[in-house]
């Protein structure tokens, strides 16, 4: 058993390895950690690199993969890449759900047979409130895409990112995702993190290494502590949660992360649900 596998089994490290597939996005959300948008530098990790790292991750003892961005589905190769990744390790891919055309949905059918899920952002139960944070037509596109994925047998998780939500609104939101075919067990509500564009809008909670799970996250800029690490503010990459610039072999950042995690003080990640 590798040191990473032992650490995962012992609860020192979470089992998931994250990839920042890209940084560009069709949306410009007010709380975006990475200041993503249509005109930002793409900074793609690359198809072959993700596959290679996924194989290394499996060898090292990681137990799951995550793909995020930017909007990963802006990458033309993504629908075919996801099943290949999910064949290596169980996979979750985060998406805003707004570019899932009928053709792309068909290309995603193989995911139904694999340990894979798409996690789609849906913040509010009504269009106006949701779209104020995430952009025009976001709500309509998401509630259109989710059932079409569910019909195809693809597991969908719904992620709600909010500063606060009252009981009534949360109940309306849960009723909505249930109607769309997503069970409560696949709905997560989490706080906005005060990084990236959220800083400019005065949103979110502060979160440091003691508050964030030590989920190794690979980007084109290096390896980071948690997918909340490689944030961008003012057009400049934040390095406060950088682990190493080296990403290959994966054992280099994994070992460094493990060293840091072992010295990590007790944090609030469980309470904040920043996962």
């Amino acid at each position: 058993m590798t040191a990473v596998a032992a650490a995962i089994e012992g609860g020192v490290l979470p089992g998931r390895l994250w990839f920042y597939a890209n940084y560009h996005c069709n949306l410009v959300c007010t709380y975006c950690l990475t200041e993503s948008g249509p005109r930002v530098e793409r900074r793609e990790l690359g198809e072959e690199r993700m596959l290679s790292l996924a194989r290394e991750a499996a060898d090292l003892g990681f137990t799951a993969l995550g793909v995020t961005g930017g909007e990963p589905f802006l990458l033309p190769y993504l629908p075919e890449l996801l099943p290949r990744l999910a064949a290596i390790l169980p996979l979750v891919c985060l998406t805003n759900g707004t570019v899932l055309t009928e053709r792309r949905l068909e290309r995603l059918r193989p995911l139904a047979e694999l340990p894979a899920a798409l996690q789609i952002s849906l913040d509010r139960p009504e269009p106006d409130a949701n779209d104020a944070m995430r952009g025009p037509e976001n709500f309509r596109k998401v509630v259109d895409a989710i059932p079409r994925l569910v019909e195809r047998g693809v597991r969908v998780r719904v992620a709600t990112t909010v500063s606060s939500i009252d009981d009534q609104e949360r109940e309306r939101l849960c009723a909505l995702h249930r109607r769309l075919g997503v069970p409560d067990s696949d709905h997560v509500i989490r706080p906005i993190v005060h990084r990236g564009r959220a800083v400019d809008h005065g949103l979110g909670v502060d979160a440091g290494p003691s508050d964030l799970p030590a989920e190794l996250t690979i980007t084109t800029d290096g390896a980071f502590w948690s997918p909340f690490g490689p944030t961008v503010h003012g057009g400049q990459l934040d390095t406060d949660l950088l682990v190493t610039r080296t990403t290959t072999p994966l054992s280099v950042p994994a070992s460094a992360l493990l060293r840091i995690a072992r010295d990590r003080p007790q944090g609030a990640d469980a309470q904040l649900h920043i996962r």
Partner: protein, 184 residues
Amino acid sequence: MTGVRLVEAAQAPLLARRYYAGGDPGPITAALANVPELLEVAMPFLATVLGATAVDARTKELVILRTSAVLGCRYCVQTHTTAARDTGLSRAEVAALRGEAPVTAAFPSPRERAVVAWAEAVAAGPGPVADAPRAALREHFGDHEVVELTLLAGATLMLNRFCTALELPTPPDVVARLVEEGWA
């Protein structure tokens, strides 16, 4: 203008944070912090090679300052002008090491002249060091000291090129002291 971003404390990567615990760690550390996995091996290495070892601090400053002057490293010459003075070198000795006066006049000791000549020979490369400076050094130093002085010269060469190529700014407190003491 600095050639790379100098990482400020708020952006210090996880493996670099301990180097910021005492405040501004200086431009070399702040530049290396861009690559934390290199920082965390480079700094202990540099601290050991340049710090207190079997070779006394005064002798080591002869190597560092002379090598830096031969390489024309503004950053290292300025910072080690003050470091050499703190180690006890006289103003005339420091001026000679900086290339502003003859070394022979400032250093009557054959032992120290041999050290300076060795530093100059190592810095001058490429190719082997000539027999004369090698023989002079061996008259005064054993194997372990030769190894250490040579590694020190090599580490200084690395820093010279790093600081010069990246145009690292001399720390303001050093600049202020150089002005105050009439070096700048």
